[in-house]
Symmetry: C2
Subunit: 555 residues, 2 copies
């Protein structure tokens, strides 16, 4: 065989060798026009953050559930009043002070994370001159291992109003064990930290509160403030009306980013143009179906499955398949052999019988040998066996073969959209043989995930996140700990946005795990009695049959 | 089991029944803001189309190859000079005439198709008042079956500057057999057509020329003009500098659409933020790798495979895998366990050994029983057997099981990006066991296809397509046939664009198929000596190791 390569000069390895050492961090000088223009996009601040402010406290807070247990778990920070920033009569506001502040990104990316960091940074530059800011690298592990970079104006600059989390990267580790808390304490002491901002979702904010509790219990000066972040939109309460990232992911705001809805709109146009494909689109949202619902309201697909409804109605996988097949049959009668179907990533988790099957499989596969003849299947309950046999072969194999290090079935790896395509195909084929269907069915599967969560933040997200960060700086400066940065009144002009902090414990309830109470911030699910779902429910029959597609576009 | 459903009122079927009859066509009143604002986006016309014009003819044309064979195949239209529109001294220009013009969309969608149609329509309204325009439905089959709709200003309006082909839909049928030509003639006569515009790629334009030849040979008055359309960018020549759709798919023009590059940029940001995934992105382009190359130049991925280079260097699948693995190893040494890799959809078609294997498989599977023990494999040549065994099991199965109606392997169904992930994974695992690799590898696969080709046309595409359509109207009005609408000087302001038509036969060569000469328009491939590839080749070693990612964004 002739020597061959895909590099310009000689063999790949040799050519690769000649390249200079890697650059770290972003470099604005090589940015695209959009990236460059976004950097200098001016961000308005809420009025209260533009002038000297004071902190006004509300009444003592409670918890979202089981306050007595939450109080026991957080003896040092439970019951704190919420803090609201208000204009101050004093000319100077808070005392000048040099602070040492750390920041960490926790969990999956959401557009706007970089703006939270620059908001904190700018607060310190504006209001606490001479302060130092550390970015812990790669998520909470960076705190435990004391891996950080010192943030400078030059380092931060290229990340302003840009998507992603790569300024300091993120991670999914948790600080949970006594040993891990000790590591975090050591870092806090070593860096002489006055404060730490944790940017993350429900779990990360629970963790932030445990850190606040722990630091205060150990009499460390390090205070901890959380910032609400989740692209799935499932971290939400009265004081935290929205998590950053959610706007970017879905809302069709002119001139802003709304990648998922844009892609769905394009796929709809494609479906209508070719007239021969059913596009099954899986969207992010493992625990809640907010993104799916929001995208449906923006684009009017023929079918949308909302996990919370499936759970509330205790639907089976067959019910879901039947629903899809019914719409396809009806559309075939009208001559439409195409359509668009939205499915939340977490659908399977909402179906009780699937959960039951997986639990049984985990149990059986841990103890039994899986024989070729399928005798092992006799260990399944009849309901689970029926479901297992109902599943497409590829999914059966995936359930049997793909296991995590603990030997458990990896539900997250199941490509729900492909599974549904196969099940619908099988059902339609049966009906074709029975003579009740003579349409054409071709499924196309899509997963819109990574393409969206690292998009540019919209102007809304950019501004909102910047305010969240700026507020976190103000709360730390005011000596607060165990609060989540809260920016409200978001429907009003930015000037009128409210800014403050809410006791993290007030968002918490407890769950019993391994015989112990664990604090949790309840995920905000799609409410079946809420206005968005009701609007969807009132329109979906029309959308199913007629083609009411809307293409939000990307301009 | 309790009755359960996903529709608001009772069972799915019942609720579906109650819905009113389907709407056909788009309705502007329910458009998104972007859709609505695009409709009235004003389109400039080249100066020459704004005033009375005349047709200036060049010298007689030849063919791209084998002119004597092309002349024999097209005795009635071969050798026509190219036509250039020039300002006319006469006040009125062409004579007033009521024309009957048909239009058809052929092949896959590309943004701008609707604008070609509205360009033709507006030409007739402006310059040939009282004309009638028919849209043949569902591609060339619509011509053969005489299925059409009469286009009116009201019907066309909602499609102006919108993506997709759904105004009249498209199809992939060809008009090839004597019987099919007869059907086309019947339609032309029945509708009393003065002209027909065929909007399509290389095959469709070849077909358009055969129709032009056929109609003239039968002394029909119906003239045929082609319009160049392909999202893959492989229909291109001196007079047709670009096919519409290509700009939209890739170019990072501020404020315009550039969906693929935007998504790649987002995936890059994601890769850098999480630091643990290699994203393998398959992009459209079965015959040529233009989109992949263009996206690479816009975004700077770590690895880009260009099919034309693979073919020119006669690379094997193992060479390609080795190249990817080498870069991954080098990056792992630098601590980068992530990256982005672009792959053209048609990669497999560029690898000679894979073509050979597939040819052998088609032959064997047509005649042999595939036995469990794999004895059938002995029929493979040793090189093909080696390759077959090198392939991941899932791909082996796909090659054996997924056959088209003729029993042939369906190469297009192979998910090349997943295949490469598995092959790279296997190779790295081997190296890990040998001790030469201790990084982490996790592949994520993406196919960016349907999401992009139905996006909104950019302002450039909107304007370019409108001019192509307007020009097609002018050429038909001037009595021309067998030309492809040509708009040039595209780097200049729109006013200065040149407008004319080029003899379709001048783009043609012949291929020998089934013992006969067949006319073909040569696909424009990525030229390894051309400036875009050379630029890419000079930078890729740097991109491989350093992270020079650029995010074109979507603003």
């Amino acid at each position: 065989m002739a020597p061959a390569s895909l590099v310009a000069n000689g063999g790949a390895a040799a050519a690769v060798e000649a390249v200079p050492a890697p650059v770290t961090g972003r470099v604005a000088s090589v940015y695209s026009e959009v990236q460059a223009s976004r950097i200098d996009h001016a961000l308005p601040l809420p009025s209260v953050l533009k002038k000297p402010f004071k902190v006004v406290e509300g009444p003592a807070s409670s918890a979202a559930g089981n306050p007595e247990e939450i109080a026991k778990l957080f003896p040092n920070v439970f019951g704190q009043p919420s803090a609201l920033l208000a204009p101050s009569d004093s000319v100077s506001g808070l005392p000048e002070q040099k602070l040492k502040i750390g920041v960490v990104l926790s969990g999956g990316q959401a557009p706007g994370g970089h703006n939270v960091i620059s908001g904190i940074f700018d607060y310190l530059q504006d209001r606490a001159k001479g302060s130092t800011m550390y970015g812990f690298k790669g998520g909470p592990a960076g705190i435990m291992k004391n891996k950080y970079i010192e943030l400078t104006p030059e380092y931060i600059y290229p990340y302003r109003n840009q998507g992603g989390f790569d300024m300091i990267c993120s991670g999914r580790d948790k600080i949970e064990t006594p040993e891990q808390f000790k590591q975090a304490q050591e870092t806090a002491v070593k860096l002489d930290l006055d404060g730490l901002v944790v940017i993350g979702g429900d779990d990360s904010n629970t963790n932030a509160c445990l850190l606040a509790e722990n630091f205060r219990g150990k009499n460390l000066k390090t205070r901890v403030i959380g910032c609400p972040k989740t692209i799935d939109g499932d971290l939400k309460c009265k004081e935290v009306p929205i998590s950053f990232g959610f706007d970017t992911a879905c809302k069709a705001v002119k001139n802003f980013m709304q990648i998922y809805a844009e892609m769905i709109g394009n796929v709809m146009t494609d479906a209508r143009s070719t007239g021969k494909y059913y596009h099954f689109v899986r969207l992010m949202g493992r625990a809640a179906s907010h993104i799916t619902l929001e995208c449906a309201l923006q684009t009017h697909p023929n079918i949308t499955i909302i996990g919370e409804e499936v759970a509330a109605k205790k639907l089976t996988l067959k019910n879901v398949t039947d629903h899809i097949v019914n719409v396809i049959l009806k559309r075939a009668d009208l001559g439409y052999n195409y359509g668009v179907i939205l499915i939340p990533e977490g659908l399977i988790d909402f179906i009780p019988e699937v959960q039951q099957l997986i639990a049984e499989l985990n149990e059986i596969l841990a103890h039994e040998v899986v024989d070729e003849d399928g005798l092992w299947k006799k260990k399944l309950t009849s309901q689970s066996l029926e479901l297992f046999d109902f599943l497409p072969e590829a999914i059966q194999e995936q359930l049997m073969l793909e296991r995590d290090p603990h030997g458990n079935v990896q539900v997250a790896k199941i490509e729900t959209e492909k599974m549904l395509i196969q099940m619908v195909e099988t059902d339609l084929e049966k009906r074709r043989q029975e003579g009740s269907y003579n349409g054409q069915f071709q499924g196309q599967s899509h997963f819109f995930g990574y393409e969206g969560r690292c998009g540019f933040p919209t102007n809304f997200d950019s501004t909102y996140c910047y305010a969240l960060g700026y507020a976190a700086g103000a709360l730390l400066h005011s000596g607060k700990t165990g609060l989540i940065s809260s920016v409200g009144n978001l429907d009003a002009p930015v000037e009128e946005w409210t800014v403050g902090g809410t006791a993290l414990t007030s968002l918490m309830d407890v769950e019993r795990r391994h015989g112990k109470f664990k604090p949790v911030i309840k995920k905000a699910m799609v409410e079946l009695e809420g206005a968005p779902f009701k609007k969807f429910a009132s329109l979906r029959n029309d959308w199913a049959i007629n083609n009411r597609y809307i293409s939000p576009g990307g301009f």
